[in-house]
């Protein structure tokens, strides 16, 4: 879940490091968790806050763009094309409204089901289902526009 939420917000190369930061931060703040049934939502909040902190750092955003030539050496032409396609899809999802972005990332990237997303994030089944459906609908439209 942490990985998916971060992927919805920060550049992919930064996600792994931030996952560690989130868990370290969660351990440090564990004493502040009053209701253990809200653990998922609490961890999600820490994750979102750290993602926001990432963008508050003094490093200009322009310097954090992924290098265009990244990993060219390790991938063949077809794999490179698939990678570019995946990056393009990821960019479209990241441009969606936040309420759709996260559930879609957890469903399509992390492979979680709707009930699992609801259980981890603390949202209701209905809310997750609506956001998944609307988000998917919007994603189809955006991808259609992109390909057109």
């Amino acid at each position: 879940m942490v990985h998916g939420i971060l992927l919805a917000r920060v550049p992919p190369p930064e996600v792994d490091d931030l996952v560690q930061e989130v868990f370290l931060s969660a351990l440090r703040q564990l004493h502040a968790l009053r209701d253990s049934s809200r653990f998922g939502a609490w961890l999600g909040t820490i994750t979102r806050n750290l993602a926001n902190d990432y963008f508050r750092k003094a490093i200009p955003v322009s310097k954090l763009t992924e290098p265009v030539t990244e990993n060219h050496a390790k991938t063949g032409a077809s794999d490179h094309a698939a990678e570019q396609e995946a990056k393009a899809i990821l960019a479209v999802i990241r441009a969606l409204p936040e309420s759709y972005r996260e559930p879609l990332m957890l469903r399509l990237v992390e492979g979680m089901t709707g009930p699992e997303i609801a259980a981890r994030t603390g949202l209701t089944h209905g809310s997750v289902r609506v956001n998944l459906c609307r988000g998917m609908q919007l994603l189809r439209e955006k991808l259609g526009e992109t390909s057109a």
């Binding site: 490093i59 492979g111 089901t113 998917m136």
Partner: protein
Amino acid sequence: MKDDYLWDGSGEPDPEIQKLEAALGRYRHNQPAPAFDRLREIRPVEQRRAFFSLRWLPQLGAVAVIVLLAAAVFLVLRSRPSGNAGPSWDVARLEGTPRVGWHAIGDKSGPGKLGIGQTLVTDNFSRATITLDETGRVEVDPSSRLRLVTNGPGRKRLSLERGTIHATIWAPPGEFVVDTPSAVAVDLGCVSFIPAGAICQTRPGIGPGTPYLEDASASFRDALSKFDFSSTTAAERTALLGVILADARKGDVLTLWHLLSRVSDPDRPGVYDRLAALAPPPAVVTRQGILGLDRSMLDAWWNSLGFGDIYLWRTYEHNWSQRPPKVN
């Protein structure tokens, strides 16, 4: 229902969603997460007020231990495949603002340290060096990501997750290892010397090839590439070696010298003869010695080729004002 597949993967699969899952699966997180869930089992909501009661201290202690262990395992698996401790590498900024984790290495912050598990990241505008007195110095180019994996006695291991580095190593052969997405490069006492104007290619699962000059002929480079990366049988390699030797010019002695230790015993005399014809060996070098890969004779021959003293290649930093070795 129509959206059952999107909801929980049941029902009739939606091809478009399946395509998205397949494309985006490459970003999926595959590391174990800390077992925080135990917390919920042991601390139900209705017992919130009793959180600090002594009655729950043993359970809370157990939870804390589990959580800490799980997190530690997670972090260790993520960042320290082999847990050899050792001194940190000194990080110095060359340009821009390289980072170690969240710590920016800049003019004001001064030099930093790269410890085991930490990652040095350079953006499109920054460069840095990392130095360990007993091992060597590594220059990290822009848009690179370099992690220190192991730093124990007798083994220094870096992982180059993306980008380019130039290493000057004075540690004993075999101590310094770099994992890359396409290969694991082990410093074996500078088995490959790549001077200015030369190239050395690597391939996933195969590793570094034989260095060659950038201006080598197309047929020479093609045969060398097949020799290094595509040939599967001894006969095939021998045939490709024939092309390489036939097409070799005087400048290609760099490649032929490296091939001496890369070809099979039966093929080595041919390489010796061609190299000797293009660059006659010094008096101290004998055919028998080279065919037996006598290191002092190989070194002496290298020194006569005009690429610099091999002692400098093995021991001291090359002149960084020159174009550094390029690894593709």
